[in-house]
């Protein structure tokens, strides 16, 4: 099908990550011909979200590391594609942006049960179990463990034993396990040391901690029944609902008053997404979780603050919201630690803790400048959509790039997955990139090329070699029970001897459309130091029971930490701070990948910057016309063109040949004329309005 791909475009975009997608949409929107491709068979690249099956597939791809394996092109054929004065520059066919992905079920496979009770589900279930069992290529996949378990019902592997036997193998593995957490920590060690030693490990590594006796067999509880919290979980319960999961590789929250929210509204991409507000911000204070009062109402109704504390906090928040106007207060502290400044404000320990670790979410070493700016951003986003400053996109952050891709496609952007560029076509005289050679051996000409670093030659950019550790858990209950199903954010600061490390914890309920029934999906993110499981171990052990025991006592379950039923760990190369080298052709732009930051606003700013470099006089993602205002004009009629042409330079071939989309003309009504929307407009009406609109914009 890709053979009908036209070969001339204004803009070619490599990679369907967030920044690339915003740019593809922005250029399509102003009428440029955009080709947007991705080497993967899914949208989003490092920003993608997957269901559980998708995660399995992704892990296999990453482990084989030849996720995109392309045949080198025939060199004779290549020569025919290049003209005098042009040269080819080879691109990396693959790129390892994810390291050591490991997924695990932490609970047993369901033993033989009340067959008839689940009869209606069995078909579905068998499919997913079958799928699991087919995954034996994965040495550490849950399925192989199940098999071991199933085949040897008499065997009762003990994790504690495993942990001990693995302890040595762990080498310098941390042994800080303190009294209360010792056994859990050990369990965790055992489990994840076996995981991280993946290749050498045989398939029968026991992750399962307890034999299942007949008394464990409870009636099948339908998972969609939210009222009855399931107290016993089996791996099958989760894998049979694999579609209900949406697991973000790069979870992001949107500041309610941030630039992503603004862009979504202005561009109308918002119509493709729905959101939930983060309903509470939690913090760990004195070893206990607390809900942070962030709004005025919260502060006053808070039970954990004393009255003087309430006044102090309100006073500080009022100041921070408009801190620039009180420069005398913080002038002396600008480059000093934020903590020192907070001390100077005579805040109590608790308030200081709230401000630093929950509102500003900065490390103790951060400067006052940074801390105040961060506090202000938080405060400005409060109360717009909810009680906290953040929104989370339903179905996961992976919806965002796809929303922009859809907008681009609707405006004529050409999309092709599993297509990559193997070579750049560069002019010898002035080092411009005038095209790409695809893995299909097709030459595609372009005026500008945009791509994420993973598509680019490694000498085109410098990055700071940092990695991000991510852990994603499915748990059976929330870390902090509240009145309703909450969507929680926790910035967990943990102090070790040398320094403090921060882990961002995002706990999503099923109403965020990312997990099933009564489960929660938890994202843990921190900067990488070792492997992801090791990096996140302190935080994970603090909050969760990583190696749950089955129990039939629901009352007891309620008192314990949430159990991790499934986990995924991986390390992601942090490509959020890259610097282009002077080797980069001037018409080639490299965008950033996702970083450890909580929000995507930086990517909006970067995308806008690149857009403005290419099209300085064009509007960045203006509001699209209302569908009702688009008039289909027959070819014979005088075409009343909207703002589609007059883009870029005169020599630009906006009309194009290969793509049929240019035939239709569209008319756009001035977006400001909202008033007429309620009237039933006739075509002539719209045309008039449009002309008025155009006149207006011409006057500008």
């Amino acid at each position: 099908m890709a053979s009908d791909l036209p070969s001339d475009f204004d803009i070619v975009v490599l990679g369907t990550g967030l920044q690339e997608s915003i740019l593809a949409a922005a250029f399509s929107r102003i009428g440029l011909k955009v080709l947007h491709i991705d080497r993967n068979d899914y949208y989003g690249g490092p920003w993608a979200s997957f269901n559980l099956q998708g995660v399995d597939k992704w892990i296999i791809q990453k482990q084989q590391s030849a996720s995109f394996c392309c045949q080198p092109l025939d060199s004779d054929h290549l020569l025919t594609l290049v003209k005098e004065g042009e040269k080819l520059l080879e691109l990396p066919g693959t790129y390892t942006s994810v390291l050591e992905p490991q997924s695990h079920y932490h609970v047993d496979k369901r033993p033989e049960i009340n067959e008839e009770k689940i009869a209606e589900d069995t078909q579905d279930m068998n499919v997913s179990i079958q799928r699991q069992e087919n995954n034996n290529t994965l040495p550490q996949s849950a399925s192989s463990e199940y098999d071991g378990e199933k085949d040897k019902p008499g065997q009762k592997p003990s994790v504690v034993e495993t942990a001990q036997s693995k302890e040595g193998a762990l080498g310098g593995g941390s042994k800080e396990g303190t009294t209360a957490e010792e056994s859990v920590a050990k369990d965790f060690d055992g489990q994840f040391s076996s995981a991280s030693e993946e290749d050498g490990e045989s398939a029968d590594t026991p992750t399962v901690d307890k034999e299942t006796s007949p008394s464990d067999v409870v009636d099948y509880i339908p998972t969609k029944d939210k009222q009855e919290r399931q107290c016993e979980w089996f791996a099958d319960d989760i894998c049979k609902e694999w579609r209900r999961y949406s697991i973000d590789l790069a979870p992001k929250l949107l500041y309610c008053a941030g630039s992503m929210v603004e862009l979504l509204i202005v561009s109308d991409v918002a119509k493709y997404c729905e959101f939930r507000t983060v309903s509470r911000v939690l913090t760990m204070h004195d070893g206990k979780l607390e809900k942070v009062p962030c709004s005025r109402a919260d502060v006053f109704s808070s039970k954990i603050l004393t009255l003087p504390e309430k006044r102090l906090l309100m006073k500080f928040l009022t100041f921070a919201a408009e801190y620039e106007q009180h420069s005398e207060t913080y002038q002396d502290y600008l480059d000093r630690p934020f903590a020192d400044f907070l001390d100077s404000q005579k805040l109590t320990t608790r308030i200081k803790h709230f401000v630093m670790e929950a509102i500003a979410m900065v490390l103790p070493s951060s400067s006052t400048q940074e801390g105040l700016a961060s506090t202000q951003k938080f405060l400005r986003s409060l109360g717009r959509y909810g009680n906290t400053a953040f929104l989370f996109p339903l179905y996961g952050s992976g919806e965002l790039p796809q929303g922009f891709c859809r907008l681009s496609a609707v405006f004529g952007g050409c999309y092709c997955l599993t297509l990559s560029a193997l070579h750049l076509v560069i002019t010898e005289a002035d080092n411009r990139c005038i095209g790409i050679i695809t893995n299909g051996g097709q030459r595609i000409n372009c005026k500008y090329l945009i791509g994420d670093p993973s598509y680019m030659p490694s000498d085109f950019y410098i990055h700071d070699n940092r990695n991000i550790s991510r852990g994603i858990f499915v748990t059976d209950r929330t870390i902090f029970p509240g009145a309703e199903e909450e969507l929680s954010l926790l910035y967990l600061l943990q102090h070790s001897e040398e320094n403090a490390t921060a882990t961002t914890v995002l706990e999503l309920p099923s109403s965020a459309m990312v997990c099933q029934g009564s489960t929660y999906l938890v994202h843990l993110t921190c900067s990488a130091r070792a492997d992801a499981a090791t990096d996140l171990k302190p935080a994970a052990n603090t909050l969760f029971d990583m190696c749950p025991q089955q129990t039939d006592d629901c009352a007891e379950v309620g008192k314990r930490k949430p159990r991790v039923l499934w986990s995924l760990f991986f390390k992601q190369v942090d490509l959020s701070n890259i610097t282009a080298t002077e080797k980069v052709p001037e018409n080639l732009f490299i965008v950033c990948g996702p970083g450890a930051e909580i929000d995507p606003d930086k990517h909006v700013a970067e995308a806008r910057k690149i857009f403005k470099k290419i099209c300085p006089d064009e509007e960045f993602l203006p509001k699209p016309p209302h569908p009702d205002d688009i008039i289909f004009v027959d070819d014979e009629e005088t075409p009343a063109t909207g703002n589609q042409s007059s883009v870029l330079s005169a020599d630009l071939d906006v009309d194009g040949e290969g793509v049929d989309c240019t035939e239709s003309k569209q008319i756009q009504r001035d977006a400001k004329e909202e008033a007429t929307e309620s009237e039933s407009v006739t075509e002539s009406n719209v045309t008039e309005n449009t002309e008025e609109g155009q006149e207006k914009s011409e006057k500008k």
């Binding site: 119509k271 496609a409 405006f411 997955l417 599993t418 209302h626 569908p627 027959d634 929307e677």
Partner: protein, 241 residues
């Protein structure tokens, strides 16, 4: 009074409302009507007549000239279903150039029905039907986990047919096997069976909708839709999926 049952963002629904409801209210003579908003996908290979079918159905218009639409997500068809029911169908076309690859999830998201279209004159387009159906089922389901009701359209039936479509029994068997709720021979050019196929699909969707009013309102109440005119948290809405 207004409560869209489809999974359509209310912001959008309200916009549509502004443009068309009043018109509708006039023709319907006012009165309290139950309203449903349903998102229906129209998928299938390039050149099978998806856009023509939509144009014919929504705009009562057919053109030999194929033209991909720019800037349009979907076409809206308003049905006065019965005395008490008004149905708005959003027919989502494949945006011109998504044809080369997979569709984005936002295209599939929260759809409650689908047409898979093939061209009876080209057997290859029929071969791709299964691929489209699988793609659909893998990307979207109703809230109860069941597949989205899907009707197969054998388009361009005014022309010479090729392949399986000549054998009704085999086509029935095929539909049963692949999980289509039915199939129709259609012609956008001659306006054959398009209204019937749509009516059939809508009937099934209504049945599903009725069976699935599961009390998801609570969860939906907290959904946030970003709108140009400031923040808002929509009041209770129901969703099909």
């Amino acid at each position: 009074m207004y409560s869209p049952s489809g999974g359509i963002p209310e912001a959008l629904a309200r916009k549509l409302n502004a443009a068309t409801v009043e018109k509708e209210a006039e023709t319907a003579g006012g009165g309290d009507k139950k309203e449903h908003l349903y998102k229906i996908l129209v998928i299938g290979e390039l050149g099978t007549g998806k856009t023509s079918i939509i144009k014919r159905y929504v705009h009562q218009f057919f053109s030999q000239h194929y033209r991909a639409t720019i800037g349009v997500d979907f076409a809206l068809k308003v049905l006065n279903w019965d005395a008490d029911t008004l149905i708005r169908l959003q027919l989502w076309d494949i945006a011109g150039q998504e044809r080369f690859g997979n569709m984005t999830r936002v295209y599939y998201k929260e759809a409650v029905g689908a047409f898979v279209v093939f061209d009876v004159t080209r057997a290859s387009t029929f071969d791709a039907v299964t691929k489209w159906k699988n793609d659909l089922d893998s990307k979207v389901q109703l809230s109860d986990g069941s597949p989205v009701p899907c009707v197969l359209l054998a388009n361009k039936c005014d022309q010479t047919k090729e392949g399986l479509v000549n054998n009704t029994a085999q086509m029935d068997e095929f539909c049963k096997e692949k999980g289509f709720i039915g199939w129709y021979e259609t012609s956008a050019k001659e306006n054959i069976n398009i209204d019937d196929a749509a009516r059939f699909l809508v009937t099934k969707i209504l049945e599903k909708d009725k069976a699935m009013q599961l009390g998801d309102e609570e969860r939906d109440r907290d959904r946030v839709i970003l709108e140009r005119n400031g923040p808002q948290s929509p009041s209770a809405r129901k969703s099909c999926c």
